[in-house]
């Protein structure tokens, strides 16, 4: 689910993680700052298509097929953005904003598709190193990001186990009876994760 990385040999794969992070951030920022006009929707869509077509993700239309998969994965984000903005702002800003949000997400996914988390971790650590002078620990911040990413699917599975256990005992889906046991398993997981990090030499 959260492991988007796909091995490859294209130029974006070969690009060092730090400059790649800056490049993707710049493009995403550029798309996000487009005005809410009709032409912005076209520009945002074009940026997404060009990004995937030129990223060197694979031979032929491989990049475009990957774009299709990414757009499908975030279809509800696009639909909800489009629908809510249609109601409150009208068709032109709704289409432009939905296209900008969609393009920003799929373009950001290019970073995850072409970069290993360890490389990203190193790049973030290096990028944050100047903050060490302010007393911040770049290694710890990078680790925090990684652990957060890796914990999401585990907690998702634990939530589904809690729901299954409740159904097995005849309980209906009820947020009140779900929250307490889920909180307990989440805290237990946090304890175990802390021990595991300590055991693996993390301060």
């Amino acid at each position: 689910m959260l492991t988007l990385y796909k091995p490859g040999t294209g130029w974006l794969h070969r690009m060092p993680a730090g400059p790649k992070l800056l490049l993707v951030l710049s493009v995403v920022l550029g798309v996000s700052l487009l005005p809410s006009h009709w032409f912005s929707a076209g520009l945002a869509a074009a940026a997404g298509i060009l990004g995937y077509a030129l990223a060197g993700l694979g031979p032929g239309l491989h990049g475009i097929r990957e774009l299709g998969r990414q757009v499908f994965a975030i279809r509800w984000v696009i639909v909800v953005t489009l629908a809510s903005q249609l109601v409150f702002m009208g068709p032109e800003p709704a289409l432009a904003n939905a296209a900008r949000v969609g393009a920003a997400i799929v373009l950001a996914a290019l970073l995850a598709l072409t970069t290993r988390v360890t490389e990203l971790l190193d790049a973030i650590e290096t990028g944050l190193r100047p903050l060490a002078r302010l007393g911040l620990d770049p290694q710890r911040i990078a680790l925090l990001l990684t652990v957060t990413i890796s914990t999401i699917p585990v907690l998702g599975r634990r939530a589904s186990e809690v729901r299954d256990a409740q159904r097995a005992r005849g309980a209906r889906n009820n947020p009140r009876t779900f929250v307490v046991p889920f909180l307990i398993v989440a805290l237990k997981h946090a304890d175990e994760l802390g021990d595991a990090l300590t055991a693996r030499g993390v301060r």
Partner: protein
Amino acid sequence: MSRNGLHLKNVGVRLGDTDVLHDVSLDLDARTVAVIGENGSGKSTFARLVGGLLPRASGELGVLGLDPARRAAELRRRIAIVFSNPDAQIIMPTVAEDVVFSLRADRLPTAELEERVAAALERFGLTDLAERASHDLSGGQKQMLALCGAFVRNPELVIADEPTAYLDARNARRVADHLFEDTGHRLVLVTHDLALAARCDQAVLFAGGSLVAHGEPDGIIARYEAVLAC
């Protein structure tokens, strides 16, 4: 103090207001040690204490000749801990990256890092799964990944707390074979599986937070079975 094994003298552990381990005195220099006892007997507390995850409230403790309270960082470089729940031990999104994570603090040259990771993946049968999402693996594969992440650091001591608890017979056997394979490491194995305990050189029996007996596995297991029969 034992230079290579475990040395405990009148060691006690408190969690909140409760004494969870009291007055444990023990000197062990065996390569493999089984820790057995009923649920709540203090086995896991003992493992966590020896692994430096819990502080002692009293007494004297030496693990590989080091005091975990004073030289925790050095001890962590020399030991590895494997838990029963592999989900909590997997940190990185892919199998290979998770193994790399274990060596991250060592700042190895890239070539050496890749070589060690590849060798470890090969040894634990994970080479073909290297790019797979760690959390999508089966329970057995996850525990193999946890072992791989532990052994890639070439630990001198491996502490395994019920590492086969969630596994089927085939995977439990594979995990046990890796733990017992003599690669120069020592093993402290907390287990309810008495057949596994019998494979160890020494066994330790806990009950109610106290050390009841230690010695040759056959005698200790027989004593434990006599307690279970009551």
